[in-house]
Subunit: 362 residues, 3 copies
Amino acid sequence: VLIDRLATIGAIDHHAHLLAGPDTQYSLADLLTESEDPGLTAQLEHHPVLARARRDLAELLEVEPEGRARALIEAARIDAMFVDDGFSFDGALSLDAHAAAVGCPVRRIVRIETEAEAAAPGSGWPPFADVRERFVQRVRAAAAGEHGAVGLKTIAAYRCGLDLPVPSEADARAAYERWRAADVARLTDPALVAWFIAAALDATEGRQPLQVHVGLGDKDLVASRSDPFLLQRHFDGFLRGVPVVLLHCYPFVRHAGYLASVNPDVYVDLSLSVTLMPHRAAELILEALELAPATKLLYATDASRRPEVFYLATRWWRRGLAGALGRLVDDGELDLGGAVEWARLVLAANAARLYGVADLSP
Amino acid sequence: VLIDRLATIGAIDHHAHLLAGPDTQYSLADLLTESEDPGLTAQLEHHPVLARARRDLAELLEVEPEGRARALIEAARIDAMFVDDGFSFDGALSLDAHAAAVGCPVRRIVRIETEAEAAAPGSGWPPFADVRERFVQRVRAAAAGEHGAVGLKTIAAYRCGLDLPVPSEADARAAYERWRAADVARLTDPALVAWFIAAALDATEGRQPLQVHVGLGDKDLVASRSDPFLLQRHFDGFLRGVPVVLLHCYPFVRHAGYLASVNPDVYVDLSLSVTLMPHRAAELILEALELAPATKLLYATDASRRPEVFYLATRWWRRGLAGALGRLVDDGELDLGGAVEWARLVLAANAARLYGVADLSP
Amino acid sequence: VLIDRLATIGAIDHHAHLLAGPDTQYSLADLLTESEDPGLTAQLEHHPVLARARRDLAELLEVEPEGRARALIEAARIDAMFVDDGFSFDGALSLDAHAAAVGCPVRRIVRIETEAEAAAPGSGWPPFADVRERFVQRVRAAAAGEHGAVGLKTIAAYRCGLDLPVPSEADARAAYERWRAADVARLTDPALVAWFIAAALDATEGRQPLQVHVGLGDKDLVASRSDPFLLQRHFDGFLRGVPVVLLHCYPFVRHAGYLASVNPDVYVDLSLSVTLMPHRAAELILEALELAPATKLLYATDASRRPEVFYLATRWWRRGLAGALGRLVDDGELDLGGAVEWARLVLAANAARLYGVADLSP
């Protein structure tokens, strides 16, 4: 009965990526491994996720290729989505084309490292004194327009790990000179990453949530330094007062829930975790809800390229929520009305409140 | 049936704090968040703990305000409690007044950092050569009297993290001179913290258990360095032969259980974890009992200020134990008699043996 | 029904140790604590493993002492085993005697640290220029003969932790001179450990899997540095293309599963974890299978000294697999045929493929 009630609740996907165009050939196995390594995609035949994906998609065979993205987004009841478009891949749609395809309100999430690289090597290595202004202008400009940005994102966990230093102009300057001398495209210095995050927060006056990639990712991730505990000291430092959303979090789900419970402005998302482990979604949600209250947990898909992944991830979240909240109901911790209310918070209301998007109609 | 049997087993609360006086206004939400931040207490409305607390307390409405503490301690069947009184708050009772209010035998736990601060900045910064003697005298004096101390406690996890150095007189001296030059009240240097712990063990001739705060705490905790694995090398070093009780432990419950399984003198307590997550108490107890035997797990409340929290925490431990041990019985790992015996160990017998308090009657 | 099907599937134990001879007196409690500390063996009376061991062995009373090892290996349906014989203990059989006793095909696993110590202090501290050749010859020689080696193993987690440096000839040379000057038997320098691992991989042309001890061990283990995340950078470095099997893994089971999911050549084993925690085997297997596909999980016993432990560990793996896979079947993630196939992979087929031992008959 809970799963049926949840099927009627619309969802706000606060963390997604661009669709790929119709000429692309991304397989489900590619998307569910975040990889095109044939060794990795082949092994998915012996993991529960692929069989579940096929089974759950089989119900949708009647959906026409024409308008398939829109039909899948509607079937998933995704009412709005926020797209991190700062990562390019073959055949990626433009944000406008993506929005037209999905048919729901779309807003941008600005990936800080991408904008920093555009402002530095991508702008011909301007002097340090000019980099910040170029970067800030890019971040400010991103907020404008129909799909204007509602949030920031950092992938520091991929670049240097989450044990970031306190932002410092002097350290950033020295790191910038090293970066310029090395003349590489990729931003990896922790002093610079911290400094660009601080600049992005200034540019948005601390009003946009900061999404932080935590844990789970592909094999480029610096896993041993993707523990959100490493960020902790900054929650009372340069991140004070900024809503911080810890993304994915596995295997640090309990760490993230703990941080959300002791910091008023820290939130937990399990997006990629649910997408890769639908058979364990209920367990992971229960772990996040050990310490984090229902007001601090957010659904998202982290989907990319094919609309099927948006559909599956959202379906799996509803199923996982029904499993987790249903267990709390069975244990006498919650009544059915409370479970439905908590699901509504996780699926949409927390994101609407956090990103300030009560009214997203164009 | 197991829960009914457990209701008849008295409990020894080996880690609690002082009650607050009758004029104080601590809300349940304050106490269940260890915070007075309105952002944190408000979010508890969407966490299972608060609803469960209200529901479980509703049964006790007939308890009169007069003698309420004693009535709640009796209802919880707490037969004795050991109180860390080394942390002050508005309206805290004296230890004598606390003991009178709760009506059961009460003993002290000496918080090492508090005594160290009293012996150093609190004594007008005596020369280093005198600090140790002042500290040792305080620790020795604490063992005397009706509520004499039966254990030591360190909050190194709050001050510098658990990766303590090997205690060294020379390093302690240098750190003391830095501390004195800085003239701050708070002890945070790891060389000094380690040295004071060693001095406290000497003062008690290694006969009192050492409680170590691990994991879970409020946001001041250095979470990334509160992993008990960081202490490991000292179990065969300066902590050899000392009973060490790892307090709270979340999210490092498995780490703590592992250490208890390979070190004869290491114990695990889940006090604050059960108090903050009663809906997951059974799961956490099962995780601790993956490697730790039932002789190594200890109940405690970590309660403070209001007697309701002592009552609730103890009730939740019995319920969690019934859930965890009941599952082992269902799986054929244990019979009902074994489950009752194990519960008795966790609730009282382990603490009685460890703290040497077979007879606590005044 | 699943447990009955699994009882018919033969097992390849890819990680075991030598049996002890008939005059030895190793108690079950010794073996299930990896210790002879009476404090640790006594506490096992209050842990589920010992009662389960006794209960499960009681069924086998009719097995005669004469030929008991062979009878137990047959009862466990162990079709082959790979033995790390690089660790000596009182009364250990020779590998030939062990093979004769167990009656199934036996191959060696070469413990790198043991061979390195034999090639350096054990060979009278030859000059650095000769050490590598001596070591390589030992590793190559191990592959010959009836019980020739099929894999390598490192216990770096015991010696220096898993945060190994990139192997470097210059650093190894300097570390070797320090080791020689100290004249101690035990290899503990991380630069040398990494360099010997690289030499062993060269000696076997990267064709033998490398077993890496991760997490769980006795109290000598450097627990805080036994996290497999610390190895990650080497999977695309000097370990690229080498099948790496993470052994035991607790409490880092999820970390290991994550690494197996993003690296085509990384595998997970839960051997000692299942042996020490049979009451939680299903939960641990489900955690490993959150991200790792069934092609990446391997059964092993890590058994030693007494054949009963081989029997029990194998029995507990089948029971744990039946519990874990049965839950996936109940949740609609897998059908019964799939569950049986996955169990076959975990129990034997993954090891046969990985170690290249399709035909082990002598």
